[in-house]
């Protein structure tokens, strides 16, 4: 196989950065979920915009 170094660098950066970003999003979500009570976590179901703070 040719260009092994380039392949490792390219695929490596994609895998590492995507994975790190994915983990960071999930961690952010977990931290926030602790602070927001269950009944406010009904994403995609709320029709009324005023309910989440915008009139």
């Amino acid at each position: 196989m040719t260009h092994v170094g380039y392949l490792i660098a390219g695929w490596g950066s994609v895998v590492t950065i995507s994975f790190a970003y994915g983990v960071s999003v999930i961690v952010r979500g977990r931290k926030l979920a602790e602070k927001v009570p269950e009944d406010r976590r009904r994403w995609m179901t709320t029709k009324d915009a005023t309910e989440i703070g915008v009139s």
């Binding site: 196989m1 040719t2 260009h3 092994v4 380039y6 392949l7 660098a9 390219g10 695929w11 950066s13 994609v14 950065i17 995507s18 970003y21 994915g22 999003v25 999930i26 952010r28 979500g29 977990r30 926030l32 979920a33 602070k35 927001v36 009570p37 406010r40 976590r41 994403w43 995609m44 915009a49 989440i52 703070g53 915008v54 009139s55």
Partner: protein
């Protein structure tokens, strides 16, 4: 927790899908080699072509993500839609990451193939670079202070202008490059076999599916942020009161001791 049954099923499918992508990209497909008709030499991109299986999906995800941001921005301006505001912000963040990956993988591929990391005369490179820089500006606008609605509208204006600016930059670089260019950019045309084509298509499909999975999670984070911003203090107070109700208060303790102490 931003997971749900849907995201868990999608997430585990993606994990299996990643294994398949890796297998297709590194084991099943052949390197890009051709015999030059004139000289009889073997030419082509050889194994560097395998970088394309991550580069092309990144680029497609980046542009798709900002298209979604633009759609969301229009919906915010038309209907003051909160849902779309969160979608637009979530999509732009993922798009920024994808644009960065596009630039990184593109440069790494270009080094052995074009013998340079960067070419100023290539329209796609320049457009993606400016897209990336504009997206950083967009994300900065989303982090500015102000009311939730004001921020939604401001971001929507910037989000729409982002697409307009990308088109203007694309056109002007195209024109600029066609004037300054020494030769038209030659992406060594890969001889596409059936399996290679399938791997390409699959990698793009995989990239978009990964984008959807991330978008759902990031949307929910945005939703929670919005909830916390709006109700965080109320909720904390309510939790405090609930806690207080469980324990006798100081006053109640004094009352029950008869107030003699």
């Amino acid at each position: 927790m931003t997971g749900s049954r849907t995201t868990r099923i999608l997430g585990s499918t993606l994990l299996l899908g990643a294994v398949l992508l890796f297998f297709l990209a590194f084991v099943a497909t052949e390197p890009d080699t051709r015999i030059d008709a004139a000289s009889g030499d073997t030419i082509g991109q050889f194994d560097a072509v395998r970088l394309m299986y991550v580069h092309v999906p990144s680029a497609i995800v980046a542009y798709t993500a900002f298209f979604v941001t633009a759609v969301g921005s229009v919906m915010v301006l038309l209907r003051r839609s909160v849902w779309w505001d969160i979608v637009a912000g979530a999509s732009a963040e993922i798009g920024t990451v994808a644009a960065a990956l596009t630039l990184i993988t593109g440069s790494i591929w270009a080094k052995p193939i074009w013998n340079t990391f960067w070419r100023w005369d290539d329209v796609r490179l320049m457009t993606t670079l400016v897209l990336f820089m504009l997206s950083l500006g967009y994300l900065a606008v989303r982090r500015l202070e102000g009311t939730a609605e004001g921020r939604a509208v401001r971001s929507a204006v910037v989000g729409l202008l982002l697409i307009v600016n990308v088109i203007v930059v694309n056109r002007s670089v195209e024109w600029w490059a066609s004037e300054t260019l020494h030769q038209q950019s030659t992406i060594a045309d890969v001889e596409i076999e059936d399996l290679t084509l399938f791997t390409f298509m699959y990698s793009i499909f995989f990239g978009v599916a990964l984008y959807v999975w991330m978008l759902i999670h990031r949307f929910r984070v945005g939703w929670l942020e919005r909830q916390f911003e709006r109700f965080g203090l109320d909720d904390a107070l309510a939790a405090r009161r609930a806690e207080a109700d469980d324990h006798p208060t100081v006053d109640a303790a004094i009352d029950s001791s008869g107030g003699n102490s």
